[in-house]
Each structure stands twice: as structure tokens, then as C-alpha cells.
């Protein structure tokens, strides 16, 4: 069997049905064999599009995302997407071609030291040296990518290996025993969970923070809701945790951190016990870490022991899978009735941001219109910038895996290809992309994929003619010196949409928004929706860098 066929059959054995990629010299023999396998290849127009699409596919489905790229520039074009997946713990297997073995290390045409370049931004890398290694390496790569804390894995394969003969794998590939043991799930320490239950029961001002590690399990929505209803502990989500907790009312504090809600940030700063699950106390969450949650004892639950104690001092560490932890905590913790005082206090500190008075399309109200059009199954994908924060603040994803965003890396250009990947992973679900004119221009070559497959993605272009988040910082912290943040000479968006046979709608004011968007969202067609928001609207609330979470800036409605 050829190395290429060995690889594709190993992918089939892992249940791979879709891969995203772009062929080049080193992977021609791989693409040559594709026709013999039951794997659908989606041709993106840039390798970065392929890796983000694989990422969106993985986030939307919970399966491992797979992409192909050729050697040299093909592989280096993946790096941003791999780093994005690594920061957000997304399982990917990226197959990169490499120059033929005899040419290795000679600065050959399209040679790059892919495993060396990718090593710092992956969970693991494999360099194949013989075709016979392929079945075991692929099996192990998938195992590593999805087991424990997920992450991206790169397999680098020289061109000559694709055409090297090796016997087919008899029993599929094997994961080395040592590696299997290394990532074996920790047995949850129930004694620690009981201690957590005790701390939470006795707490006067408890709060939960849930992150991406909770968002990856479908069951967690129910488990968390059950726990919260029983124990009356209010919940705040990190950006990566959006969609896990959907109850309405005071128990749902919304997002915390730099652009978190007043209620969430107040809760954290005044809590006496914090239960943090599947989150990693990123600086965008804690702000100045020395001022973070000064009164709280912290219970930190994470599947990765290295996260515990990394950024904040933890009082009770629990290494566990979030689902198992929630299940056990639900078992051992009794109902707590009287939290009214704390909840009232939080309610009193819930403030709504005021929209600019003379705005014709204020972001907050516009997002509220979009939110009404989302259902339980709608997958919201965002890019990075102001629109991302507005989406996180004003949209309410209704379930886990319904809010896909580049949280850790903050990769502009992520959203559009990720939305494409999400649509291929969940063809029956509505996919809404929230992007900005800055982010969208970073990967809009993938409009060709939308055109080819008539993907009914709703591209909501929050268009303000600026690199808006940078502009906001320049306004607030750099005396309004708007250095290089004006995106003039923007394309004619209508003609761009036309060029790719995609429908175009322009929304200029709030009065039109509801009706026009309802039509668009109910049409099973691709749309580019040009949302002409205020050029100078800023994202509030905001905690400026270096401040504590209680030093919030913003113009609030219910303030004297």
C-alpha cells in the first residue's frame, strides 16, 4: 500500500469525513489518492483558511478537525491557525507535506522546518520517516489531539513517503502504551469535591466562573443548570465559556473580565468563594492579577494540572474533567436556599451600558435584534475586535458549542473560515458570522468556498471603517492619535458580494434592522450583511489594562 493510501485509510479509520486543504508540490501524491477514499476535501483558497475551517469544524462538532497543506509556505501559512487552536485547546490534526527525504536539510525548494516551527504552538508534532509508521502515528495523533486537554497536532510527511510502499495496518494504528497512560483521565478525587461542596455551602458570596473547558461538553449545559438551580450560585462565563449557562435572571451574570459585565466583575471582586471550572485565569479575565478577587478563596477545577496555580494562587485544586466534576458535585452538594442577600447585592450592581444618543445604528440595540433571530441550534462565529466583544456581551448563545471565537490568540481573520468549517460540520444548523471590516478583509478569499457550495452563512459585517478596537484604545489611552487604524479604500462590499454571487443587504439604521434581518436569516442562502454601525462607538463596559476588575469604565443607564 502506498504511504498516501495508508494515511487516508488511517484518517478514515479515525472517522474523518471532511478535510480542509490546498494542494502543492509535496502533497500531489497524497491528493492523487484522495479519489479512492470516502473523505470529502474542501479546497480553501489559502492554507490559513483551511486550518481555521478545521478549527471551526472541531469547535462546532467536538470532533478532531483535519487539514492538509504542502511543505514550506503551505505549512507556515497554517501556523497562525495552529496557534489559535493551541491557545483555545481545540483538537486538530494538521498534515503537512515536506520535501523528499534526500532533500531534507538542504534548503530545498519549498522546504521549511515545519515541526520545529510548529512545536511551540502545538500539543505535539510528528515527523514521519517511513511509510510504515503512518498508521500508528495517525492513531496516536488523534488520541493526543482529543484526549485530556485537547490541542493541535502536526504530522509532517516527506513527499517520497507518500509513494513508499508499506504493508497495510492490520488492526488500525496503535497508540503507544506509555502515551495512552500519560493522557489517561485522572480519577477524580471525591474528597476534594466534598471539600469544595463544603466551602460553597458555607460561602456567603459564592460565584462560579466557567470557561472553554466547560463549553466543550454538551452535557455540561444540563449539569451546570441543575447545579446552579440547586445551589443558587451565580455564574459568570469567560469569553470561551459563552453559551454554557442560559438561565435568565440574576444567577446569570454574563461575561467577566476586561469587557465583562458590571455584575460579573463586581461578583468576582466581592466573592468569598470562587469556583472556577475549565478556565485558566487569562489576563483578559483577571485584569491586574494582584487586584483580582481579593477576598475570595479559589477552587480551581481543570483537566490540565499545569493550569492550576499558574496565574493565581489556588486554595483548593481539583484536577478533573469538567463533566465528571459537575456530576460529582451535583451528587455531593445539597441544595442551598438562602442566597437572597448576595443575589440582591449583585442585582444592585447590575448596570446596563447606555448607547450613544444620536446613533442611528447603535451596536447594542443592533445586536439585540440579531439575538432575537438566534435559536438553540444557531452557531455564532465571531472574528476579533469590537464586534467580537459586542457579540459576547449582547448575543446569548443558547447551548454549548454555539459560540465560536478566537479567545486566547485573538486571531483576526479567524471567523470567516471558521464559520465555513462549522457549516460543513453542522450542515443542519444555522451559522451566523459576526465579523468586522478589518477582520473580514484578512481572509475574504474564502468567499469562493461559500460561492461554490452555496453555504447559507450569514456574514454580519459590523462595518465601521476602522480597526475599531485599536481605534478605541487610541482614543482612550493614546490621546486620539488614530495611527493607521482608518480602513479607507474599503472595497465596494455590494460589488464584492456580487463578484462571488452572494446576496448583499445593507442595514443603515435600527428601524430597518429587525425586518431586513428576519428576511435574511430565514432565507437559506449566503448573505453579506453590511451593518453600518457608528464609526466611533466603543465597547463598554471596559476595565483598562492594569486596573482591578472593579475599576470599570463606561456610560451606564441606571447611574445618577
Amino acid at each position: 500500500m502506498l504511504g498516501a493510501a495508508l494515511l487516508l485509510s488511517a484518517l478514515e479509520a479515525q472517522g474523518v469525513d471532511v478535510v480542509f486543504g490546498l494542494p502543492g508540490g509535496s502533497v500531489i501524491p497524497l491528493y492523487d489518492c484522495l479519489k479512492d477514499f470516502n473523505i470529502r476535501h474542501i479546497l480553501t483558497r489559502h492554507e490559513q483558511g483551511a486550518v481555521h475551517a478545521a478549527d471551526g469544524y472541531a469547535r462546532a462538532t467536538g470532533k478532531v478537525g483535519v487539514c492538509f497543506a504542502t511543505s514550506g509556505p503551505g505549512a507556515t501559512n497554517l501556523v497562525t491557525g495552529i496557534a489559535t487552536a493551541q491557545m483555545d485547546s481545540i483538537p486538530l490534526v494538521c498534515i503537512t507535506g515536506q520535501v523528499s527525504s534526500p532533500l531534507l536539510g538542504k534548503d530545498s525548494f519549498q522546504e521549511a522546518y515545519t515541526v520545529g516551527i510548529c512545536q511551540p504552538v502545538t500539543k505535539h508534532t510528528y515527523a514521519i520517516t517511513k511509510a510504515s509508521e503512518i498508521p500508528d502515528v495517525v492513531a496516536e495523533a488523534f488520541f493526543v489531539a482529543k484526549t485530556g486537554r485537547p490541542g493541535p497536532v502536526v504530522i509532517d510527511i516527506p513527499k517520497d513517503i507518500f509513494t513508499q510502499e508499506a504493508p497495510p495496518a492490520i488492526d488500525g494504528g496503535k497508540v503507544r502504551e506509555r502515551v495512552a497512560l500519560k493522557f489517561k483521565a485522572y480519577t477524580i478525587n471525591k474528597e476534594q469535591v466534598r471539600k469544595a461542596a463544603k466551602m460553597l455551602t458555607e460561602a456567603q458570596k459564592p460565584v462560579m466562573i466557567v470557561g472553554g473547558g466547560v463549553n466543550i461538553s454538551e452535557k455540561n449545559h444540563r449539569l451546570l443548570t441543575q447545579l446552579v438551580e440547586k445551589t443558587q450560585i451565580p455564574v459568570s462565563e469567560t469569553l470561551m465559556g459563552r453559551g454554557v449557562f442560559t438561565n435568565e435572571g440574576v444567577l446569570n451574570l454574563g461575561m467577566l473580565g476586561m469587557h465583562g459585565t458590571t455584575a460579573a466583575n463586581y461578583a468576582v471582586q466581592n466573592a468569598d468563594v470562587i469556583l472556577a471550572i475549565g478556565m485558566r485565569f487569562d489576563d483578559r479575565v483577571t485584569s491586574d492579577v494582584s487586584k483580582f478577587a481579593p477576598k475570595a478563596k479559589i477552587i480551581h477545577v481543570d483537566i490540565d494540572p499545569a493550569e492550576i496555580g499558574k496565574n493565581v494562587v489556588v486554595d483548593l485544586p481539583i484536577v478533573a474533567d469538567s463533566e465528571e466534576f459537575l456530576m460529582v458535585l451535583n451528587e455531593v452538594m445539597a441544595a442551598v436556599a438562602n442566597r437572597q442577600e448576595w443575589l440582591d447585592e449583585l442585582k444592585a450592581h447590575t448596570k446596563m451600558v447606555k448607547s450613544p444618543a444620536n446613533s442611528v445604528l447603535p451596536p447594542k440595540e443592533m445586536f439585540a435584534v440579531i439575538d432575537k433571530l438566534l435559536d438553540e441550534d444557531t452557531i455564532v462565529v465571531t472574528d476579533v475586535g469590537q464586534h467580537q466583544m459586542w457579540a459576547a456581551l449582547f448575543l446569548n448563545p443558547r447551548r454549548t458549542r454555539r459560540f465560536l471565537t478566537s479567545g486566547g490568540a485573538g486571531t483576526m481573520g479567524y471567523g470567516f473560515p471558521a464559520a465555513i468549517g462549522a457549516k460543513f460540520g453542522q450542515p443542519d444548523k444555522k451559522v451566523v458570522l459576526i465579523t468586522g471590516d478589518g477582520s473580514f478583509q484578512m481572509n475574504l478569499q474564502e468567499l469562493a468556498v461559500v460561492k461554490k457550495f452555496r453555504l447559507p452563512i450569514k456574514i454580519c459585517l459590523v462595518n465601521n471603517g476602522y480597526l475599531g478596537m485599536v481605534r478605541q484604545w487610541q482614543e482612550m489611552f493614546h490621546n486620539g492619535n488614530y495611527a493607521e487604524t482608518t480602513l479607507d479604500a474599503a472595497p465596494n462590499w455590494q460589488r464584492l458580494a456580487q463578484a462571488y454571487d452572494i446576496n448583499y443587504v445593507c442595514i443603515e439604521n435600527l428601524d430597518d434592522a429587525a425586518q431586513k434581518l428576519a428576511v435574511v436569516f430565514n432565507d437559506d442562502e449566503p448573505y453579506l450583511i453590511d451593518l453600518l454601525v457608528d464609526h466611533t462607538a466603543n465597547v463598554y463596559p471596559m476595565v483598562p489594562a492594569g486596573c482591578g476588575l472593579d475599576e470599570i469604565v463606561g456610560d451606564f443607564e441606571n447611574e445618577a
Partner: protein, 161 residues
């Protein structure tokens, strides 16, 4: 504080880069690093001396554990260990000082392994304190060149039944 770590890793190409890359990426300070194969040819052993507080060491250990190629991490700091490093030093020596240096090196059980017209080369093994002492004692004669290996360390065998 200095900590000695014994790290067993897969004997793969690239594993040294993965380990050293982890240290540089996360800003941990390596004082010294020794790698060699072991009784099992598929396994290499790294002895790493890392400078940092207990919190840093905990992170180093946990992050090392996350590398797929890392088999085992042992912190030897609180163990009874023997540790050795190898020193080669070229020191200025003419016929007036040569005898004195040789006598001095005898005390340390260091050896003279090369003699030139104006210098000689001393070879010594020992723990860090001894190596430091040898270098200090040679300094008055004019140390011209120093080569040291990092530290290799092993846990002492149990003494009681």
C-alpha cells in the same frame, strides 16, 4: 534556589529542542543541561539544573510532563544524590609555578592531562563546590580557558535493609 531535575525522555531527534524550547518560551532559567543515552537505548536522560522558586519549579515540572516525549520527571532537590561535573581548565604555568600547581591539584585529586611550554590543562570531576574550589585555587596562576560539563546526578542507593 537551584533545583536538579532528572528527566527521562524518548530518544527522538528534536526532543532536546522541545525541552529547551519549553524553558526559553516560558522564561525558565536553565543553569545547566546534560543529555545522554541510558541503559535503555530508546530513552535519554536529561539532568537539568534550573534556577527558580518553588512555584516556578512546580510549573516547570508540570509543563515538562505535558510534553509527549517526556517519560518521567524527578526532582532530585530533596533527595540524597551524588552529583558530578567534569572540568577542563587551561592554566598558565612556567617552570616556576608548574610544581606548585601539580601539588595543589593533587589535593583535589585533579589530574594534569596536558603540558605545554607556558600552560597546562587540568582535568577534574566533582560536585559543584569542588569544581568551584579548584577554579578559585587556580585563578592566581592565570586561568586562560575553562570548559565545564553540566551536572550529572544520581540518587544514592538505599543503605538500610
Amino acid at each position: 534556589m537551584k533545583h536538579k531535575l532528572a528527566v527521562l525522555v524518548e530518544n527522538n531527534p528534536g526532543v532536546l529542542a522541545k525541552v529547551s524550547g519549553l524553558f526559553s518560551r516560558r522564561g525558565y532559567n536553565i543553569d545547566s543541561l546534560v543529555v545522554s543515552d541510558t541503559e535503555d537505548k530508546s530513552v535519554s536522560r536529561m539532568t537539568i539544573v534550573v534556577d527558580g522558586d518553588a512555584k516556578t519549579l512546580e510549573q516547570v515540572t508540570k509543563q515538562l510532563h505535558k510534553l509527549v516525549d517526556v517519560i518521567k520527571v524527578n526532582d532530585l532537590t530533596n533527595d540524597e544524590i551524588v552529583s558530578r561535573q567534569l572540568l577542563l581548565v587551561r592554566v598558565a604555568a612556567d617552570h616556576d609555578t608548574r610544581g606548585e600547581i601539580i601539588q595543589l591539584m593533587d589535593i583535589f585529586r585533579a589530574r594534569i592531562i596536558d603540558i605545554g611550554r607556558r600552560s597546562l590543562i587540568v582535568e577534574a570531576t566533582g560536585d559543584e563546590d569542588k569544581i568551584e574550589a579548584i577554579i578559585k585555587s587556580l585563578q592566581p596562576f592565570g586561568v586562560q580557558e575553562i570548559v565545564k560539563t553540566g551536572i550529572s546526578a544520581m540518587v544514592r542507593s538505599p543503605k538500610e535493609k
